[in-house]
Symmetry: D2
Subunit: 325 residues, 4 copies
């Protein structure tokens, strides 16, 4: 199929590459002409503007927008909507808030443009491993685009089949699902990321306990000398908590056992926050997912004003003076 | 009554003073001779050793130990047990773990010594306001010591009577209770402190939100210029969240609106931890009390190893590079 | 002053009463004619419609809307805007989301109407104790309405002055503040309620530990027989955790020591959720406030799907069968 | 090697089987004669008592105790210590608290008996997949027992090698580590289980959000119709959150999409609690691990007393009546 990719960063570039390697024809655009020209050298058809991109199609246009959520995506989709004709498709493969999908799908459908939201997981490994995709939008369009999704997905590979599974639809087993109408794809991806935060923080807290057990701050007879790279490694093998995130942890620790290359200043994308908002709209208690998000906030802070308030109250009622740091 | 006070720090010294001002005779001991002599100047009978203290009584001996929990208290009680006779009383007024009380009461009862545990709240304000006390031990002994507790307690004062309360026992209304057998006093005090942590952290988080709403890190049109001293003040007056801790917060903010005198490095005593342990023994979920304790741990830390692990995983799956701090 | 009160529920009715008792003239409207007529019997001037209400003023109109947040308030304000003239004032005294205030203030200012948001704390006790108010809006209008706020506020009363406080503006000490521009009043009130949730849950968890310590599910030698009404009572007297919420707890326990009159099915208003959203917008970690909100969600649930998933995983990896409930 | 297995439950029986299938000679004992005789039928040498078991060895005795932690394990080890001679080895393969290991190792070393603690993960799948083991104890003994551990471990298998790993010690890559001195094995296993709770709860909360998004309690236009079995399946394939626990979840959902076979009443073993205690001893904040444990407590409760207290306070300050359940 012919497909345009808008945004050739870490994700977009590799998506184009994987599509081309599966025989699809990619028209590509990025605000950096250099990036466009690099990918052109790999077989893509580069465009210097969205207009040029839109006019490069021989038939029905399919645009895959792969830009940061928020303003950049919003602007690109508005601009593409101006260039698209009835029957064309705009796909948002980024990390958009699902309510924005619902709004956009409604607006675009008035012009006869089909809107598809794709939550895409796989990060920098997707080119090689394939992308896990959660798709929202009208059924007919999702089916028409199946060759695209099939090419991007990891396929069944050598991952063991789920015992007891008898679904006729084999898409989930090949790494993508049609989750529901507009917004459903990004909703499922959002929850995926919320879970991801929780999993990561569970490992982080556990390793903090292990690491601190080696600390010179503990009395000598309470101290161990635990080998963290070995522990991460052994847990990959037959333990209940083996996972891909643990594999990545083992890789990181193998090369740098104290993780000295990192400062521990952890960013958070919108999806952690939106997951909490969704939980609140549904009145679902999510203590673990919240704590995981807040741990990231805290990782970026020095002592907060609230910390000082605690000290002030303790001084107030007990005359307690702070331990110097 | 004649009573000995062992340990004349912030709490013990004032307890002696309040007892003397109510006509009790205080024998006092502290490892600092200077402190003993200072209090002797205020009417107490000072002793240079526990032996001298024990021999100073004219009748049945009552020892009030007011030392840091753990080793200091444990040692003092063991030494006093060696000096005490059948029928004497040892009171632990500190912050002892309630299971230690149960063990000690059993050991001492074999020698005919009565053991009383008193959880004492009131901090540096107790001399003036009186101490709120939660008492554990045998009923007869608690009743015999009533003049002591009555003197230390705040009394009914001008605190409004609880609507609908018809208890014959007026002790709670005068500021002390006999909570139950050995350990019950410190158990109730431990939970009191666990709640205290939770309350403090609730205020701290709320004020953090207010303070950050003024921050130059927010876009200008999302910013307010909230006056924190005024907010603490107004909440003292007719709002649902008025409390003594809020009064203390208002005092702190009145003098130093940015709390620049504090670093926000917050200590925690054993009681927060024990409250969590007790909750775990009872399988009671205590998310708020835990979070409050952990906030204190975190206040004393820079980026943790766990934070670095999060960064390492994010780099691993997404190629995400940390934002410089 | 002449002032109209729209909405005569638990809050609105008492606000009218307190204003009248301070010599203000109240025009009142409620969709229930019965309620209007009841308050007319107490000296208010009742109206059968908003139109009638609006035409009842002799000069500049001041409308105090005291309705549930969301649709009811939004509708009333839109209707009043249609009836109001340049220079008139609309006050929202309810629990509106502060961003709605900012939007409304902008819209109404285009018509020359002044908009004021008032976060009002005090609940059913406000008539007697006065209301604690946090006000947002233009400075001139807030000053013009001062007689209204002064009448509603508790006044300095016999609450002790905050040591070290030297503010020229005495409003905070009399129970109301001008927090800032449109939205600032409800923002501060929102955080107030967030803190309230946290405080309540801290007490709730502590009392859960105490209550469970009496439980027949514990081994007999680990059990106490703690008297909860007495504990709540004694903590009111000289302890660090005394507060108005504790006073209310003591009242509840005095009349019903097992709280058998309550099911423990706890509602939450929007303000707890908004506080979390505000914290997320500011990247402030609020573990305690979140946990307090989630405890309410959980109080309304039976076993969740997530609980079942835990059981399913445990069965999957360990063959663990659930304990029958 | 000759080895005795004490306790032939889900874990112990399969450990014996896996050892026999690797050519080791197993002496087995269980308090159920039936269980012993069943395993004898598979090639083990059954014993009717610990005495008979101990006398069955031809040389140095190695006892692997595989019993529930606490009293059963404690008693068995005390009894075996009475039967063992200098140089014999007692292994505790269960879920013992690591401080008990430290105590026991010290006591047994006085008699010249070697004590080894093995944290064993793998659950009911271990017979087939092998067991992941974390071992504590003296280095020489651990090396002597290497054939046992090697047989039980999964081996390198087809799990991809960790990039950048260059450790000389290949044991971790074959699924077992010598973590350190007595207690270190169970300490690492304890943290493993703490992490396990956190991971499980992260998935559980995420699926709760997904499930509730389908709920008839939501307004119809906010509802999706998400297919949970498909979502679990697709996340196994190329997503960041793929893991063995997710594989098990997918199996459970494939057979029973609403998990109607489960009540959601979730047990917790000691290890979750001990992980929190260890974290507290180290002052490491573990909000996620705590929340995960507390979610299990809560799953076993109806409305708590604390919930009722919230209702009582809300009634007290706001006249709020509970929503009927």
């Amino acid at each position: 199929m012919q497909i345009a990719i808008i945004g050739l960063g870490r994700m977009g570039g590799n998506i184009a590459r994987r599509l081309m390697s599966h025989g699809h024809e990619c028209l590509v655009y990025d605000r950096s002409a250099e990036t466009v020209s690099a990918l052109s050298g790999e077989g893509a058809r580069g465009a210097g503007s969205l207009e040029e991109l839109a006019s490069g199609f021989s038939g029905r246009r399919v645009f895959w927008v792969m830009l940061p959520a928020g303003e950049p995506t919003e602007t690109a989709i508005r601009d593409l909507a101006g260039l698209a004709s009835e029957g064309d498709v705009i796909i948002d493969g980024g990390n958009t808030f699902y309510k924005d999908d619902i709004r956009r799908a409604k607006e675009l459908s008035e012009k006869g443009i089909h809107y598809i939201d794709v939550g895409t997981s796989g990060g920098v490994w997707g080119l090689e491993r394939g992308y896990c995709m959660m798709i929202g939008g009208p059924d007919a369009t999702v089916r028409e685009l199946d060759p695209i999704f099939d090419a991007l997905a990891p396929g069944a590979g050598d991952i063991e089949r789920t015992r007891g599974r008898h679904a006729e639809d084999t898409r989930a087993e090949r790494g993508y699902i049609h989750a529901g109408p507009a917004g459903a794809g990004h909703f499922v991806k959002m929850v995926h990321n919320g879970i991801e935060y929780g999993l990561m923080q569970a490992y982080a807290e556990g390793f903090d306990i292990l690491k601190t057990k080696n600390s010179h701050l503990l009395p000598e007879d309470e101290r161990f000398d635990l080998n963290l790279p070995d522990i991460a490694e052994v847990w990959r093998r037959g333990s209940v908590i083996s996972s891909w995130l643990l594999d990545l942890t083992a890789i990181a620790l193998a090369g740098d056992r104290n993780l000295d290359h990192f400062s521990g200043n952890v960013a958070d994308s919108g999806e952690g926050r939106w997951t909490l908002e969704a939980a609140m709209e549904e009145a679902v208690p999510v203590n673990v997912l919240s704590a995981a998000l807040y741990a990231r906030y805290r990782s970026r802070q020095m002592a907060t004003f609230g910390d000082k308030m605690l000290s002030a109250m303790r001084y107030g009622f007990g005359g307690h003076v702070e331990i110097p740091q």
